[in-house]
Amino acid sequence: MNNSGFIGKYGFFSSIVVAIIGVGIFSLPGELAKSVGNDGWLVSILDGLICLLLLYIIYKIMSKNNYDTFYNILIRNFGKVIGKIVAFIFSIYLIISISTGMRVFSEVLKMYLLEKTPTEFITLTMILCGYYLIRGSLTNLVRFNEVAFWIMFIPIFIVLIFAAYDADFSNVFPILNSSPVNYFQAISLSSFSFGGIGIIFLMLPALKNKSDYKKSAIMAVTFITIFYVVINVLCIASSSSPQVGKLLWPTIAMVKSISIPGGFIEGLEGSVMALWVIFYFTFFTNGLYFSSDLIKDIFGLEDIKISSYLVIPFIYLIALLPRDIGELYGIIEGVFPILFFTCLIFFPLILLLIIKLKKKVAATDEA
């Protein structure tokens, strides 16, 4: 077994969490409320279960290939040409997800904090900061994830406790009141909330002790699922599902409506928005590193520093491409589920099938 990695148990756990939770959290409760009303939290649990299944598939693929890097596994099993194409599609998926996220992030920031700052400027500074971080090695990125995890979640949970103060939790009733078709639709719509799960392909080969994988990964997915469920329930409880469905970013609206008795803290949303910057930043840097890493291998480049030069202009362009917020969410809702199912469900399943077949062929050859 290849045990030459450097990522510890906690580093692995926190990297998965911060790489998955991104800007999707702003709009997730709204998207879910539109399709399934009060049952958004149920859909999040279903998403979590699907993710656990994915964890298992990824584990099978990686362990059967002696925890090699994702690119090498693709080349070994698909052959050089198809392997490269698959890796390329995968990196396109990553680039689209971080650049649409970038646009959402800068729109939200512009709306709530920096009214007159141009979107281009926000995008550019974010890209430069991210580039600076990934110029270091994967070790630096993981260290950053480890630190960011606490900076992100301790304040957020404190804010969420305040949000629970005035909430009417009976709003989650009635449970299971939508038609099954709506639930499927909601699962496909909300796939973006777990879209960053592919980061495991990057992190697992570098995990120090491979036997830690199961526990850390399951813990990470459980943590994310609980976080999504809490956000969904609080949004529904602090207003109601018709209102949540109407808002573009119900999570921020929820934070904005917090009124603490005595009023010793006002305008919580300012500090919360500052925290979301880190939420997006970790999502962005992890995605950027992974896509640059793939591009480096595909084009046989020397270093990630060079390949990220190739990736960055596309992120900037794709982020600024949608004409308005309607078009942006059109892309996210239309293109994203397709890419998600191709890259994170279809490809891994095919990969697993090929691995199984190869094993069978090898076994019959020996016989």
């Binding site: 709306m111 009214e115 700052t117 109601s240 209102q243 409506s257 009124s259």
Partner: protein, 391 residues
């Protein structure tokens, strides 16, 4: 070398401030109150439908609103001067709130900043125009930088008079109203409604209740005078303060308040300290019966020196008298809301939606009809836990 690096870092930080639209704090008027009245040309509202989306509009804009912005006179604030100031105000005729802000900015030496607004006054006249009410509320819902916790009130007459008004206890109306609203935990006749709550209620079915403010010009005082009932985005009627407190009790939201009965010619005050509400809905054919059980706990205040409440039977007598009186009062107010206004302010609809989803699916189409024909029974169970320190 070290110094050089340090210098570069210091100069870099100058470029990284990210400040894009510098606006000094004293260049802003922080709006504390917004008042909205019908504009001079509100009668021409019907003509608006004739305008096609592509037509140029600015030249013949119809000023359907009259928007008043009240803001504290910052020059009165300071360390020695105190933390409250008298209001100044600007009134403009506009076709929308945004237009009002633009026009006011043009009239004012400072830029108008509404993110910290604490109070929104809607004139009862503007509440007659559902189309305009929808426009106004959409503006406040769409704006990210609006204080969603601001209080909303319906006022009789012109909002400008209220913003001009100098209350006896505070320097401006916004401080006064906020104070009264925050005190609402001590009295049941005031029912505070914030922008956020109003938007949630209206998004569900266009019905809501908001507190009503009246101005007595002869005595020069303003007072919170019950609530205004809004149905399908239009004002349909008012409740008096006593009816409001009854409604608060039926809603089960009352935290404190008092009720009175007469015992042998003496008023007996019962101070409510807590409410518990249970709603039971029984389906009956196409309609339903609502049974509301209210448990009130509290304390008896003054009666009369000669009276002795120490005996169990006596206290029970008082409790029973309250049960009877309050049950009748509460059933009356619930039925009045149902029959006269057709507005469900006691969350019967929510209750059916949440706990009887199958029944809701059946009746949701003609909810209004079903609601009007249903029966509401309110049962009050009063428990006077304390009687003070005498028998």
């Amino acid at each position: 070398m070290k110094h050089k690096k340090l210098l570069i870092l210091i100069f870099m930080s100058l470029l990284l401030t990210g400040c894009w639209d510098k606006l000094e704090i004293d260049q802003r008027s922080f709006i504390s109150t917004i008042g909205i009245d019908p504009g001079k040309e509100i009668d021409k509202l019907k003509d608006l439908k004739k305008i096609k989306p592509g037509d140029p509009f600015e030249e013949r804009a119809i000023d359907e609103l009259s928007v008043t912005f009240g803001f504290p006179d910052i020059s009165q604030l300071g360390q020695q001067k105190g933390n409250s100031a008298e209001d100044k105000y600007i009134t403009t005729q506009a076709y929308s709130i945004e237009d009002g802000i633009t026009k006011s900015t043009a009239m004012s030496s400072k830029s108008i900043f509404i993110a910290d607004c604490q109070l929104l006054l809607l004139s009862s006249d503007i509440l007659q125009y559902p189309q305009v009410v929808k426009q106004i509320l959409d503006y406040f819902q769409r704006q990210p930088r609006v204080n969603k916790n601001m209080y909303i009130l319906a006022v009789d007459g012109n909002t400008e008079d209220y913003i001009k008004f100098k209350p006896y206890m505070e320097k401006n109306i916004q401080d006064y109203i906020s104070g009264v609203m925050e005190n609402s935990e001590r009295t049941a006749t005031v029912l505070p409604v914030t922008l956020n709550e109003l938007l949630i209620l209206l998004n569900e079915n266009g019905n809501a209740i908001i507190p009503r403010l009246t101005l007595d010009k002869d005595r020069n005082e303003i007072k919170l005078n019950g609530i205004a009932i809004i149905k399908k985005f239009a004002l349909v009627g008012y409740l008096t303060p006593i009816e409001t407190s009854d409604l608060e009790i039926v809603r089960g939201k009352v935290k404190s308040g008092k009720k009175v009965i007469y015992l042998e010619g003496n008023p007996v005050d019962f101070v409510i300290e807590g409410t518990k509400r249970k709603m039971n809905i029984v389906e009956k054919d196409q309609n339903f019966i609502v049974n509301i059980d209210l448990k009130l706990e509290g304390e008896i205040r003054a009666i009369s020196l000669e009276k002795n409440l120490g005996q169990i039977s006596k206290l029970k007598e008082v409790d029973d008298a309250f049960n009877n009186a309050l049950s009748i009062e509460c059933t009356k107010i619930a039925t009045m809301m149902q029959k006269n206004f057709g507005v469900d302010a006691i969350e019967i609809r929510e209750n059916i939606e949440k706990y009887h989803p199958a029944f809701w699916k059946k009746i949701s189409k003609d909810w209004e009809e079903v609601y009007k024909n249903s029966v509401i029974n309110v049962n009050v169970d009063v428990k006077a836990r304390r009687i003070g320190v005498t028998q």
